[in-house]
Symmetry: C2
Subunit: 365 residues, 2 copies
């Protein structure tokens, strides 16, 4: 059983939160995960996590549910838990259980990471078609965790930038291009086993059926981009802006022809274009399931929108997928003139809970 927030066709809105664990007690951590699991079951069913307003308890108690989602449908809410590298330090006796694939990401060229927007011992990805529902879920989990965890950073996102099902049309990112045409699709069961889900031969046991999440806060310099010619934009991406078709092709889903050349002998799809450098053909077949979201977090004090892509990618092994792909992109991708990676994290996302179980139970048993 896989976590719903990975296998559900991408919802429209995101509230992502990374937490620092502030307790050093293993028992406290386990209790927290049990309480979170119980709350998540209620929240994703569209139920309040407890009394929020009607006076059926003493007035002296704070309401159990913060109340702002009362009356709203769950809008396909999913909650996905991830365990960061910090969870496997000395505090909780979990060092021996750290998956080999849960590596600290290396420094990539031009990384400009803000430590306050990077890392985290725990992550919760809340996706829903209603932002108020996603915010409500994260807020109430943070509240349950008070004294045991503290929010390290959080990120709202809108306008999913990827489709993860063939039934979804491909949305556009803030560069104005269709994003995710070649994304892994949930209908491709065999590929998902190869690329997305941890297999028994990978180990450790507690992660089999799970996946690894890499999150990157990618600032887009959209004002610069917007002053760039259409020809340059299309050369950077490797696709037409209108159709989303690979350069030299007519339809979005046409196969990319990397051998095709223009009259001047140059490849129609430039060698430093994003689609080429990110393509499995040039990455030993490695693919990712992307579930990213656009963000605009106001302005940056210089008259520019603080806007970009909150990149979320699930995979079987970051050492074979995100890391080599990003090494190549950070070195050669023409898009680097227009983007900046400002936040980064990696998490091990265990398989989904079975009835009576709790998030990560196998990790602690």
């Amino acid at each position: 059983m896989h976590q719903a927030g990975i296998v559900t066709p991408v919802q429209d809105r995101l509230h992502f939160a990374a937490f620092d664990v502030t307790t050093t007690s293993r028992d406290d951590l386990i209790s927290l995960l049990k309480e979170w699991t119980a709350a998540a079951a209620l929240l994703t069913a569209g139920k309040d996590i407890g009394q929020y307003g009607a006076v059926n308890g003493p007035d002296e108690a704070p309401p159990k549910d913060t109340g702002e989602a009362v009356g709203l449908p769950p809008a396909r809410l999913t909650l996905t838990i991830g365990f960061g590298p910090g969870l496997f330090d000395k505090r909780f006796g979990l060092a021996a259980k750290r998956p080999k694939a849960l590596v600290d990401l290396p420094h990539f060229i031009a990384d400009n990471l803000d430590p306050q927007r990077s890392g985290g011992d725990l992550a919760v990805q809340a996706c829903s078609d209603d932002p108020q529902v996603a915010v409500h879920a994260i807020r109430n989990l943070a509240r349950i965790g008070f004294g045991r965890v503290a929010v390290r950073y959080s990120q709202l996102g809108f306008g999913r930038t990827s489709s993860t099902s063939r039934a979804q049309s491909t949305p556009r990112n803030l560069f104005g291009f269709k994003d995710g045409t070649n994304n892994l699709k949930l209908e491709e069961a065999d590929k998902l086993e190869q690329q997305l889900w941890v297999q028994s031969e990978d180990g450790p046991d507690w992660m089999v059926g799970g996946s690894y999440l890499v999150s990157r806060r990618i600032r887009m310099h959209i004002e610069t981009w917007d002053r760039t010619s259409l020809g340059e934009q299309e050369a950077v991406i490797g696709r037409g802006k209108g159709t989303g078709a690979p350069l030299g092709k007519a339809d979005e889903f046409d196969a990319i022809d990397f051998a095709a050349k223009n009259a001047d002998g140059e490849p129609k799809v430039p060698t430093d274009s994003h689609v080429r450098l990110a393509h499995p053909q040039f990455n030993n077949g490695a693919e990712l399931l992307r579930r990213g979201y656009n963000f605009v977090d106001g302005s940056d004090g210089l008259g520019r929108l603080d806007a970009g892509l909150f990149f979320l990618a699930y995979q079987r092994d970051p050492r074979k997928q995100f890391i080599p792909i990003q090494k190549q992109l950070s070195r050669d991708d023409k898009m680097n003139e227009y983007i900046e990676h400002v936040g980064s994290a990696v998490f091990a996302c265990p398989p989904g809970v079975t009835p009576g179980s709790y998030w990560g139970e196998k990790l602690f048993s």
Copy 2:
């Protein structure tokens, strides 16, 4: 004719931007407003503002439209323009046209305003049911204005916190309470003339049929609020959290009985409750048309969500409405223990454009 962004039942999402005018040329400013008006007509009709991708012009030119809303319906997009006090300084020869009602807001007790999130020569309120559409609109207006205006600050909001039509149910703010039960409603035509629209006897001519906007970024200390008892929360607001009914009443829309007393002789609706202090009965009949939105802008570096209410209120005269109401609230409102005003601005919003006209044409004629 009134601006659509005031009279349209509140949409679900907001992108609000305040601009500094960086040109000192009156002609440039007029050209900008003409271009914005033309673009707004296209955007609100769900059209791109020009070629975005198909190569029907030279590849060397940047696309006219940034493209991220291609294929999306307008989702009830409205764009509302406001003129801030700075527009009436010496630069543009408009000083004599400054409305008397467009006053600089006074300092209110406990105001903790960030100048970078306050003021602005121009404001555009983009409301839509799709945030990508609202973001696209602001971005393209900012882009059109390049060299003439710069974004001073911008704010995304979700989950409208007010209903402005009897056809809308009352949504909940991040305190978990229904917000806007007693808001002015668009169906109350007589009241709107009294409270919302500038009348000919008010002047100046160019503002007749317009309205004044006060925006306040109100940070809510939701973690503190969430640890507060239900009884205290309800006493602060003056309503039941579940029903939204005034304390001592059963239904949300029951009239508030300020004279009703508990057995101990204290008023059922406390004298320092928000509903009492904000009520027209205790404000010489003054009312506001509120169109606020919830916001969560990540975290504040102290493990707390940077969350709250982006308060937007339209009115006929801030001197008789927002200012006296807020003076009273800032002095006595029990809610002040849980909120902090961190941004503030005031704008004169002229009447809507007629065909062939442009935003604010009468101001310049």
